[in-house]
Symmetry: C2
Subunit: 296 residues, 2 copies
């Protein structure tokens, strides 16, 4: 029952990886915490802030000594890190990741390793913000938030237990879900809203006199478009990695939007009111979930 | 140069009207402040809170004694209030309103009065929230926010000066704009985002297992859908009143969304990244406007 590890390595030290190691410091979960990042400035920051014990000069070196590797790179780069793990990793290494799409991670693992390694536990902490980078990391980021793990039928039970234990130490609630269910739900609640926010802001920015338009936007606009300040490369990767579920989500949304457009065009106030009332009450239900404790 | 009034009447005492009288208390702008509201509970609250001096029993009575009337009822009800003002109002009465659409107000005034009265100054404070009702009113609501006035060519200069003076006393910045420009800009920055938020939440609520979907929605979803908690009747009216500009806004958005959908379907990461980068930088520009002092 190994619920602690010798060397924990985070590959890709941004908001999520940095907050994870910040939360794990002093818990005794890992005897030693290391990190690798293409941009050395993040590593220097993390070393200076006492978040990590060491920052090996190469990914190969970092991978070779790690007992648990948390892959925190952009979704479509996960496969390249898997390849380095395949070549340089210990035979007993545990692997998990934090990518927002799980189907593409499982697919990349199957391609690189020939089959999905039983000691790989795909994961996704439902946390984060429009901020990014290790400088925004904080130990409390995952408290009262959910972490979804999507183990497969032959995932190693002890690997799963260890990864669950790690996330529980951060204050998160860990839930298990099937890969496809995860990707469908996240497409609807996260990937689609991001696409809509990016589309809205871009649509306004390309209007004539767009500065005047933004100048008169009210506070509701700031909240609505907050997620359009998210990292472009990260979201490009997510959109591509979760293509099927995202297209379904866009199409479902478009059906609703078309119906609302038709009601506006027809002056059909009854339909508009009905949809608005239904949406408002669904959101109230959602807020009650939030209040019941998770994902503040 | 009458920059004060004898009796100020607010018709429709909700968040906006209540916050306006709260901000004007003690400024000397009005010798006396009254209000009329279909729901008497709001008036009792306002009397109890010392926001207003009197609450006449009927709209006719309230209108008959008022020197300045602020019409704060839902957009499509403005015309009915104008009709009472036409029959019972003083010949020297000044009128302004706070509706989110200005074209429909001007049109209603022309229908009721035969022509738009020179002493009517259409207005729209860019403030508010998903909250509503006089209980949410606060004197500081308009501070550092913009109030848009849309006078016509023959609007009375003194009426305009008085209404401007009133809003400046609340801490707002007053700007003038043409009716059509106002309605186009608000369609893009406010009415369209509300329709999108309502459509998204409704689209998710109608999915199978929608409770699971909302249960796993992250914090970004809460911000993105905040405006879907807005009052359904108020937004039904706005959507109908600003039909033309809203349809244009929906169509412009749909073009952008369709292009993003096509890029996702084609696996065209370059286009996705380009749009996301452009949107993000447009939003940063918008945030700089906000920081420069207005609309915190």
């Amino acid at each position: 029952m190994s619920r602690t590890v010798d060397t924990l390595l985070v590959v890709g030290l941004g908001l999520i990886g940095g907050s994870l190691v910040a939360a794990l410091r002093g818990t005794g979960f890992a005897r030693r915490i290391t990190a690798y990042n293409r941009n050395r400035a993040s590593l220097d920051y993390a070393l200076g802030a006492g978040l990590i014990d060491a920052a090996p000069r190469s990914l190969e070196e970092a991978v070779a000594e790690a007992g648990l590797i948390v892959v925190g790179v952009p979704t479509l780069t996960v496969g390249a890190v898997f390849e380095t793990i395949r070549v340089h990793g210990r035979p007993d290494v545990l692997i998990t990741d934090v990518a927002s799409v799980k189907g593409s991670v499982v697919q990349a693992a199957a391609q690189v390793f020939g089959q999905v390694p039983p000691r790989l536990v795909p994961g996704h902490p439902i946390a984060g913000a429009e901020k990014s980078g290790v400088e925004a990391a904080r130990a409390g980021l995952f408290e009262r938030h959910r972490v979804i793990l999507t183990p497969l039928a032959d995932t190693d039970a002890e690997a799963l237990t260890t990864v669950e234990a790690m996330w529980r130490l951060t204050g998160a609630e860990v839930v298990r879900m099937e890969v496809a269910a995860h990707d469908r739900i996240l497409a609807l609640t996260s990937h689609l809203p991001h696409v809509l926010a990016f589309a809205l802001v871009d649509s306004l920015a390309r209007q004539s006199a767009s500065d005047d338009i933004f100048r008169f936007a009210a506070g509701g606009f700031r909240d609505f478009t907050r997620i359009a300040s998210s990292d472009a490369v990260m979201w490009r990767d997510i959109a591509l990695a979760n293509r099927g579920a995202l297209l379904d989500a866009i199409d479902g949304f478009t059906v609703t939007l078309d119906a609302l457009r038709a009601a506006v065009a027809a002056g059909d106030g009854a339909t508009l009111e009905q949809v608005f009332v239904r949406a408002r009450s669904a959101r109230e239900r959602y807020l009650r979930w939030l209040e019941q404790g998770i994902q503040k």
